[in-house]
């Protein structure tokens, strides 16, 4: 296994030495609790975690976990994860080999005076407006974690923003390889 390389991207929510584990698991009751419990028990930090049905086979789900490779050596995290019987395969992506995307939704209360400012900001960030009423706008951004961070920071100047992020999903960049653990 290659040692983690520093990620030089501009993020507030992930440490420099994060890694992305794409984990194929059996689609059985309690699997997520087993994974989360193991991380908590061993003191490994999770930055985000996203779950979805696996592409090809209804028996499996794919869990994308962004881990802090500073809280413990990556091979420790992967080794302990691999011991969970319901974990079928682990793909380890270092940030420079990964194509990472995340979804951000934010409802921003606006007045006439600030609405234009928000629309400009959203347009500049490549976000779209997905809901509107007289008192607020909801903006959506699907982008890199860095882009989501940047938008989140710019929205800090608005009061009482309700903001949710999904945590990232990732695939290897074309032409790059991930480390597979079967």
């Amino acid at each position: 296994m290659t040692p983690p390389e520093p990620f030089l991207g501009d993020t507030v929510h992930t440490p420099v030495r994060h890694h992305i584990l794409s984990v194929l698991v059996e689609n059985k009751a309690g699997v997520l609790a087993r994974i989360a419990g193991m991380f908590a028990r061993r003191g490994f930090n999770i930055y985000s975690l996203a779950v979805a049905p696996a592409e090809s086979d209804a028996r499996f789900s794919r869990v994308t976990i962004v881990v802090d490779a500073e809280s413990a050596p990556l091979e420790q995290i992967v080794g302990q994860l691999d011991k969970l019987v319901n974990v079928v395969a682990i793909t380890d992506l270092s940030p420079q080999d990964a194509l990472e995307r995340e979804l951000l939704l934010a409802t921003v209360p606006t007045e006439d005076a600030t609405r234009g400012q928000l629309l400009d900001l959203a347009a500049g960030a490549g976000a779209s407006i997905v809901d509107v009423d007289g008192t607020a706008l909801t903006v959506m951004l699907a982008g890199t974690p860095g882009a989501c961070d940047a938008l989140e920071r710019s929205l800090e100047s608005f009061p009482e923003v309700e903001l949710h992020r999904t945590g990232r999903v990732a695939l290897p960049r074309l032409g790059r390889t991930a480390t597979h653990e079967e």
């Binding site: 091979e75 420790q76 019987v85 974990v87």
Partner: protein, 570 residues
């Protein structure tokens, strides 16, 4: 063939070759106890579910086969969490079956409902909540497979009452492919490059030590270890979990390492330039302060569980395989070690200067605990199995009992569970009725699980229990004496309350007592002559006796404290 889930469960256990189940029934598991009446399985009715779990562990440690326990839901299930945790820490193969409330009631706080799969997630290798009678055979087959392959451990099967009561068409998985374990691959091939690197380290080392852990016993590698050690002349240390993996009488055996290890074993590791680590995990009780542990040693780490690599100490070469396979591969490589004469000269000098020692007992008492253990060992037949509780008596048993054979030491290592001894000894005797089984127990430990002697008597399991009665929670007392200015807080128990002889008799056992050396010899002879019922001996030992050598918690192994009579000689 139509069977109920309960019948299918019992039949599945038979299919796995189970001969003994330790358990206690109750509401949710009731359906399963009915077909037990028609089965050839031996069920041993315990007096507390913790006893069932430790018995299953003792059975497993003595026989090398998985231990099986069966209990009801709720409190029955929570009572067995301690043994499950204990087995998890010591990698003991167990299959524990718990009753559960009916599937329709799960989540409704039904009577005696508890989320036992949730509770035991962190202390089992895996667990199952079975959803249908049809799934039961698969769950049982998978549980035994998981418990016994790779790194062994406890597996729990939670069986809702309606699953046990409903019917199924009998089937049994024909092979591993039908176990539905797509994520479980316990064996991997030995990496030849890494093997070559390990062999090169062995060939270059001038101060190697074979650091032998419990994984060596699990992989039944004693014969391979003996052959490899003798061919290379490399000295051997056996951890608390590995006592018996290499004969104590062998001149290359330096004894047990760790907090209460021999001076020579501890210091050999400290000065070593190569630790050949065989199924051991650098437990803090072995390493002392990790930053100061074996500072000059390179590390070869052989383990079936790769998560052990680098968990505590970074290995120079990590071989993910079982110990027997690794030792055979070392042997086939034809590796020779360097001339180890200088190393052995040094080791012999330490061995001569700092043997295990204690003061002779006075003729009219009190007894020396170490002396009692040696006296029992000298009079018992070879191959005797010895179990222990947790505390000073455990350390003395590990130090002074002469272990010659694998699977003769039944002990709670990783968890340090007081009360383990009596039920574990019963389980060991149930699994190996041909062997004499002694339990070296503490007075504190005995009071935690002694009621299982009722089980032993009624089931005809004649174990022998030596209580080293120092009237104290002795190990805690030792720490308070040495590190808390002799401020004794809540450690005194009394030598006479309870009256252990009367208590033994009330449980249908023979009760004996010895207060001095003469009585000691007599009661041991008497106990050895009794083979039909359990015997309990109350040995009155010196409360001030302490376990030495000792590395204080958190200290460097270099700061090992030897017996007071050996101090100043250094």
């Amino acid at each position: 063939m139509q069977l109920t889930g309960a019948q299918a469960l019992i039949k599945s256990l038979e299919q796995q070759g189970v001969d003994t189940v330790f358990g206690l029934p109750g509401g949710a598991i009731l359906p399963v106890y009915d077909p037990l009446l028609d089965s050839s399985l031996r069920h041993i009715l315990v007096r507390h579910e913790q006893g069932a779990g430790h018995m299953a562990e003792g059975y497993a440690q003595a026989t090398g086969r998985p231990g099986v326990a069966m209990v009801t839901s709720g409190p029955g299930a929570t009572n067995i969490v301690t043994p499950i945790t204990n087995a998890h820490m010591d990698s003991t193969p167990l299959v524990v079956i718990t009753g559960q409330v009916a599937t329709a009631s799960i989540g409704l706080d039904a009577f005696q409902e508890c989320d036992i799969t949730g509770i035991t997630m962190g202390v089992t290798k895996h667990n199952f909540l079975v959803q249908s009678a049809h799934e039961l055979p698969r769950a049982v087959a998978a549980a035994f497979h998981l418990a016994t392959t790779g790194r062994p451990g406890p597996v729990l099967i939670d069986v809702p009452k309606d699953v046990a009561q409903s019917t199924m068409d009998w089937w049994y998985p024909a092979s591993v492919d039908e176990y539905d374990l797509p994520g479980y691959r316990p064996t991997i091939e030995l990496d030849e490059d890494l093997l070559d690197r390990a062999v090169a380290l062995i060939a270059a080392s001038r101060r190697p030590v074979l650091y032998v852990g419990g994984g060596t016993l699990k992989s039944r590698a004693s014969a391979e270890l003996l052959a490899f050690a003798e061919r290379t002349r490399i000295p051997v240390v056996t951890t608390l979990m590995a006592r018996g993996a290499f004969p104590d009488s062998h001149p290359q055996h330096l004894g047990m390492p760790g907090m209460h290890g021999t001076y020579t074993a501890v210091t050999a590791m400290q000065r070593s330039d190569l630790l050949i680590t065989l199924g051991a995990r650098f437990d803090d009780r072995v390493t002392g302060r990790i930053a100061a542990f074996a500072p000059e040693a390179k590390v070869i780490h052989v383990d079936i569980d790769r998560a052990e690599f680098g968990k505590i100490r970074r290995p120079d070469v990590a071989l993910q395989t079982d110990v027997a396979t690794a030792l055979r591969a070392f042997d086939q490589s034809g590796v020779r070690s360097q001339p180890l004469d200088d190393w052995w000269r040094e080791l012999e000098e330490w061995r001569e200067r700092y043997p295990l020692t204690y003061e002779e007992p006075e003729m009219d008492g009190p007894l020396r605990p170490q002396h009692v253990i040696q006296a029992i060992a000298e009079t018992t037949e070879p191959g005797t199995i010895v179990a222990s509780g947790v505390g000073q008596h455990q350390m003395w048993a590990a130090q002074y009992w002469p272990f010659e054979e694998p699977n003769t030491w039944i002990n709670s290592g990783g968890a340090g569970t007081m009360g383990f001894g009596v039920p574990a000894a019963i389980g060991a005797k149930a699994g190996r009725p041909d062997r004499t089984v002694w339990c070296i127990d503490g007075d504190g430990c005995f009071q935690m699980t002694a009621q299982e002697l009722v089980t032993a008597r009624s089931e005809g399991i004649p174990i022998k229990v030596a209580i080293l009665n120092n009237a104290y929670l002795g190990m805690v007392r030792q720490w308070q004496e040495m590190f808390y200015d002799e401020r004794y807080s809540e450690v005194y128990l009394s030598p006479d309350l309870p009256d252990y002889v009367k208590w033994a008799e009330a449980m249908g056992c023979v009760g004996l007592r010895a207060t001095n050396v003469k009585e000691m010899a007599d009661v041991i002879d008497e106990a050895n002559a009794i083979t039909d019922v359990p015997v309990v001996i109350d040995f009155r030992t010196d409360a001030s006796e302490k376990v030495f050598p000792m590395v204080p918690a958190g200290a460097s192994n270099d700061d090992i404290m030897v017996h007071p009579s050996q101090r100043g000689a250094r």
